[in-house]
Symmetry: D2
Subunit: 310 residues, 4 copies
């Protein structure tokens, strides 16, 4: 994780003194406010602002006054109920803002979640830094044989070395050429006065998709949980999942009751179709059900057996 | 504005003590945080939470660290530039949450702004209070003769009295009948054990559209300004415009630089079509332009002359 | 269902002749295009336009050409897979537009679904018709004793008669007064030249919430299914559920494969929390599980037993 | 523009025969339906479906039946009025679906417009083709000296040749390495059985940002016009502007009245701030106004003079 001196100074200043507020505050989140959580080789996630807490969800659900007038156990029960029955609007009453540094190919997946606000570093306007994501050796995996969008075994030996060498070499080569085309005296180089230099908005196209970008990303709690339900899932690509994991830690500190409800009723939950439920009912009645007579396709049958741990 | 004792106590508690935070705070907004601003005869708007400030807009625009590292005059210039050129995403980085009490027919207009989060008091679940909007005499206007969705002269004399009497009588009658159908011993009455009582979700349909409801409404600054540009406009219906005015006061306290830019570049601005611009150019060249030779329709011509104050 | 002569003529004209198109068409939906399906006492739903079909969902999922190049059974399997795993974007590629006439209190629930486009009849601009929803006797239910937002037994005898009489009387009275305040010679009446007449935008506030309004409502298939999953559900209020049922019939004709998948994997499905799944696993292992030792609260236990049909 | 044989056959089939429909059809758009409009060196835009026409905008504005019952001149006047006064919801009643092939760095700008539906080709799932955007010589521009996100003079001579050679070489090198790492026997090569091959979701990160991707993009007319107002603007980057131009041609064929109104009231329009309007008023009164006494900053003054053509 590469923070410039300037950035580190800014963070230190932001954390130097507190100000008084009449808003809800969350001490456990304030502890890490502004501070980066390292992700991948050069990336990070840091919380830079937030609005609301567990009680704000409860308050919205009751659409009434009464912060603190009810026992915590009731608040927890209400939050669990909202999560279980997908009553989503109370969770929209909390908001959080992250500063994220991430590879472009991860940013491309991330941005598909449209219900959020984004301000991204502009490579039309400014020059990107020489920072590329190179997978750790244990993340250098082969194509999965069974899942067209998954990973299989970790590459080993000469192949692994060669792949890493290629990724490093191509990133360096394309970045060197990017700087040469820009002709802007970056990295201590000198401007070649014989050349006009290519416009930044064009030169950037020579960079590879593992170059790092950064953005502010602001989202309400409901949409953040939806993001996490997809991206903290084992089927998500590892390189975005680690960002989801970091944001999950922020959620844990910020709204601990919502976090617990989310783990039980969303991340750890499973949805059974009408036909799947029928199979379970028959099994609970003592019947031995096979796929053949289940009304389920082979794939659904496997999915159901996995849910039931059989 | 009718606040219950319970609500007043809650507000007093919420304002009783401050908590320390590392987030941006805005003292001028904290001054009125939680406190209701009266609107219409029984309504109010109060700010119950906020995230960000003028600097957060600037920071997002720069997608960089640097709070306070630049002179205020530069921040103002940047905010003006963003507003003038409709660079909207930095304004999305601030968020505010209101608690609003408003008549249902106003709520119906308001909710058409979809890019916001809402939790409304549910008349399916709870009984509504006996509170109806009755216009002040100076707001009791005739249909405009020139504008199909506007108001003309104020009603006077016997007609005005009769209209007010009707509005009061029908509201009272329908509300009395609402309570009778509910048979829930509201307002100190007794339950008639011989009757089952009508379900709340049905009984509410007997209420008139001026009955008050309330909600939490959370919105980002960009979408709030869009709302205000439509609803603080003279063409907006008076009964929603007064809510916009109250929220404008919150914006003035919260993000004063954005507020000033909004007044100059949005509320006070006018958009001239290509043909209108051509007319202005000809006039500035000293030509006397009449509607007939302007290329503009009669209505557009009037609109242009109004913009130019001629 | 009250269609004016003018409306009936318009529908007849719209259905009088077909035009050739190179777009996907769905004959089963064309059969009912433009034609109203009656809902409640004066309401209707009619499909007035659509884009896409089952194949468009498949095509988007494959992000490739290939309409008709694969066997129908494969298309169905793919649609089932998408629905089961909540891959939602392919369903967004189909769009449908409805014309709906509905009571205002139903419109207020409906509009909470924000991801749709709406153009509603404006009572600021025009005069509303004398049409109110009066429940059929079998829908006149008491408040549920167990569910704060549900209905219990049907009202009977004198109470039912009295409630219906009140609903009719108050609707008629408030509407008569609405017309009187407008003073616009509606319904064949004469203008009283001694009165200015109240502005439409004010007079409407005297109407009750069961007055009918109408709108065009355009939505993509994914968001329509989300709407239906909430509003075709037994917990939805009857008065909006009947609109959902009518739209479900349109979905059945429009995208039959999506419709079937939706019934099995969404409407007929149930989501089990991590703890609920654990209970089911223990039961399938032959253990007798009681609520006390289940790790579930009393309410969750009841919900689980209901899902399992026990 | 590279269409595979398969794609060309599919398009021919889609255009081979028409089907009858009761929906609104637009013959001028049907003429080009499914057919690609070439953009850049390998890209294209093609309309693959649409819903609505000029009359649908009018119909929504009137929220009434009546297609064709009013004279065309009135429809045009109404559309102009809606556009001028930014009454946006009637434009949301039309929908269009494009299939677009475009470089990734253009896709990254494009996707910032969130109010649309997207299904993109997945490089996690499939292998990308060897297609990269290489600017035409006349588009190879230097960085603008006056605008941090603009282009200046066209590069010439040896520098231009070198830049083009670099872009080609780096794209080829990174793509060759991509294929090698995949080890999937693409482009007629053989699989090296000694190597496992890198997962597609990882290998893609080695590609440069000018590689082509493709997607289906569905959007309503209001949001399309908003996109075009930003991207068909001279300040937009050339490489996205050419896509906007192609879509503008589709709009011209699809909704010609809306197209004309858009040109006059949006693309050719200018918004003057309150202070700018005051300056114009003083000038029209015959006063000689200089920047110094105008109340405008230097930059605003230049912008105003540009609008006024002075």
């Amino acid at each position: 994780m590469a923070l410039t001196d300037h950035q580190q100074r800014e963070i230190a200043e932001a954390r130097a003194e507190t100000r008084p507020t009449l808003r809800a505050t969350v001490p456990a989140l304030e502890e890490i406010l502004h501070q980066p959580m390292a992700v991948l080789d050069h990336g990070f996630v840091r919380v830079i602002d937030y609005m609301g807490d567990d009680a704000a969800v409860v308050q919205a659900a009751r659409v009434s006054y009464g912060r603190g007038t009810r026992k915590v156990s009731e608040d927890r029960g209400l939050i669990n109920y909202l999560m279980r029955h997908r009553h989503t609007t109370p969770f929209e009453m909390c908001e959080i803002k992250f500063h994220v540094k991430l590879p472009v190919f991860v940013a491309r997946q991330w941005i598909r979640h449209r219900t959020a606000n984004v301000n991204e570093y502009s490579a039309r306007y400014s020059v990107l830094d020489r920072e590329f994501y190179i997978p750790a050796p244990e993340q250098l995996a082969a194509q999965s044989a069974v899942n067209r969008q998954g990973r299989g075994a970790v590459l080993e030996g000469a192949e692994a070395e060669e792949v890493l060498a290629i990724l490093r070499r191509d990133a360096a080569q394309t970045y060197d050429d990017y700087l040469w085309m820009l002709n802007e005296a970056e990295e201590g180089g000198a401007v070649d006065s014989a050349r006009a230099g290519l416009a930044r908005e064009l030169a950037r196209m020579n960079l590879t998709l593992n170059v790092y970008t950064q953005w502010y990303w602001k989202v309400d709690l409901h949409n953040l949980l939806h993001f996490l339900s997809l991206r903290a899932d084992p089927h998500a690509q590892y390189e975005i999942r680690v960002y989801a994991d970091a944001m999950m830690e922020a959620v844990r500190r910020w709204v601990p009751m919502v976090h617990d409800a989310f783990l039980d009723y969303r991340l750890g939950a499973a949805t059974l179709s009408g036909k799947m439920l029928e199979v379970v009912r028959r099994m609970l009645d003592g019947e031995t059900v096979e796929q053949a007579g289940s009304g389920l396709g082979a794939r659904e049958w496997r999915e159901l057996m996995a849910m039931l741990g059989r």
